[in-house]
Amino acid sequence: MELIQIDPYRWEIKKTGAMRVPARIYSSRKLIGAVKKDETFRQLVNVAQLPGILNAALAMPDIHWGYGFPIGGVAGFDVEEGVISPGGVGYDINCGVRLAATHLTYEEIKPQLETLISALYRNVPTGVGSTGRVKLSNSELKKVLKQGSRWAVSQGFGEAADIDRTEDQGCMPDADPDAVTQKALERGRKQLGTLGSGNHFLEIGVVEEIHDPLVADVFGLAKGSVTVLLHTGSRGLGHQTCDDFLAAMTKNHTIDGMELPDRQLACARIQSAAGRQYYRAMACAANFAWANRQILIHNTRETFEQVLGISPRQLGMRQVYDICHNIAKFEQHTINGQSRRICVHRKGATRAFPPNHPDLCAEYQKTGQPILIPGDMGTASYVLTGMPKAMEETFGSTCHGAGRVMSRKAAKKSAKGRSLEKELAEKGVITRWTGKSTLAEEMPEAYKNVTEVVDVVAGSGISKIVAKLRPIAVIKG
């Protein structure tokens, strides 16, 4: 497998053997070394072998070793010939990020930051097996799965404007709750309005740098203002949905007589009964995730107002955007000069639509879609915007975060004898966490440098940097 450098930001693995298309990697000299050591590129080559794949199997600069698809992978499939793969979407369906801006400054909240983060820690259920305060009957849960964010807003969680500033308006219309298994429904019932564990977080930050003042102004981001960034997904409901469909599709691990290179790539034709059923169930999990983030941002808004004793107007919390990381979607893209409806899989990657894209709300027609890139909890996060080049090269996609570089085991070893809480406090970041080893596993060194990742997508022209955020307080599950 030969890796050929095309320019400072692009590498390619030529089509050989069973590959139907080449593999293309967005990276940099600094970043590419880390992924050469493991199975990441092998996984990308496996994706390039799937039926109906179009143009190239793509890897974003935060790519790392996953299971089946690499994390940071993007692939577009022909609707007639192509496949849909639960492993290509991932377990945490519509794991995603939501950003809200406020009128507050760091100086204004600094005296109460400890109280504020403690109150948020109480009001946002975190950790393994955490349960939410929203209790759902079967019929109500099915409404959540059909309506997504809209259901949450109809119950008083947030504002109608939040929906406009959410990818797909927080709802995939093809959701069919009858496609979701009873086990998945049971796991979801108690978990709406919870953050979960692992790399999920709630982060209070400050806008540290503005790179594009005009776009930042439209996004509602002012230098020095306080932000809230939320990372979570569809919880047990999404995991169980992926798990159930993977198990069913794995029973037939050949497609067109071709043995799949990895069982985790188990898939079905998009047009087959199994493919359609998975898509409808996946859409339910995606809607659950949007409702989940909608409830959590609402609880955050209320907590800010209560702790700081201010009115909604004084707080001025405005949702900037909500984006998803793990999804398969039907979108319109130009393939060989022809506009076609294709199925795009993004696994640990972000949609990045440019200005004038018909799927964006009126507010963002001139700016392009806000793209939210969380870094590790001690460094920085970025807000970018979509560029036309992403439509030409990456099916309108970009990176999703810093990407892990250290295993959890190695991170725990490296954290032995250290107080990460103290180290982060010295950097100006207050932490609250639930899991015994969460802070160690999620330590800043476990991740790539997010600035280097963002430099690649900006340098290659698929996204543009708008603002940089600095974390000041973080809750980890």
Binding site: Y67, I71, Y91, G129, E186, C242, R408, G435
Partner: protein, 138 residues
């Protein structure tokens, strides 16, 4: 004899189990998985239930077995102390499971396992005995 080791995987957690026979291999996989979640020595294993699992071949059977056991935790909040395989072949398992209901006051959750993946799954007979590799989503 049975033992297992943790494998380095950038995003997730892998386990390699070695055992004298395939019964021990599958039982060892289950115990290794729950060792990551909880200190099994504090569990009483007071509740017992039966479990049957089927698969298309040994690797599929191993993943299916671990998936069903993990659902006891993720779906029903039960922590598994012991498993005992009564009977198995390449495509079926019948087993007894002893578990405790999760009690946050008594049971500290060490780390979360969210799913059992098919990625890189192997079940092989080697000169050293039976060896299996599994990667978990954490």
């Amino acid at each position: 004899m049975i033992y297992y080791e943790l494998l380095d995987h950038t995003a997730d957690l892998g386990i390699r189990i070695t055992a004298d026979d395939i019964y021990e291999l599958f039982e060892g996989g289950a115990h290794a998985m729950f060792d990551q979640i909880v200190d099994r020595s504090v569990l009483s294993g007071a509740a017992k239930e039966s479990l049957t699992v089927s698969g298309i071949d040994k690797p599929d059977l191993l993943i299916g077995w671990l998936r069903e056991l993990l659902y006891l935790w993720n779906g029903r909040e039960r922590l598994v102390k012991w498993v005992h395989i009564e009977q198995m072949d390449d495509t079926h398992i019948a087993a007894s499971i002893w578990h405790d209901p999760f009690d946050p006051a008594k049971h500290e959750i060490l780390s979360d396992i969210k799913a059992v993946t098919y990625h890189g799954v192997t079940v092989e007979q080697t000169p050293k005995g039976w060896v299996a590799t599994v990667i978990f989503d954490v």
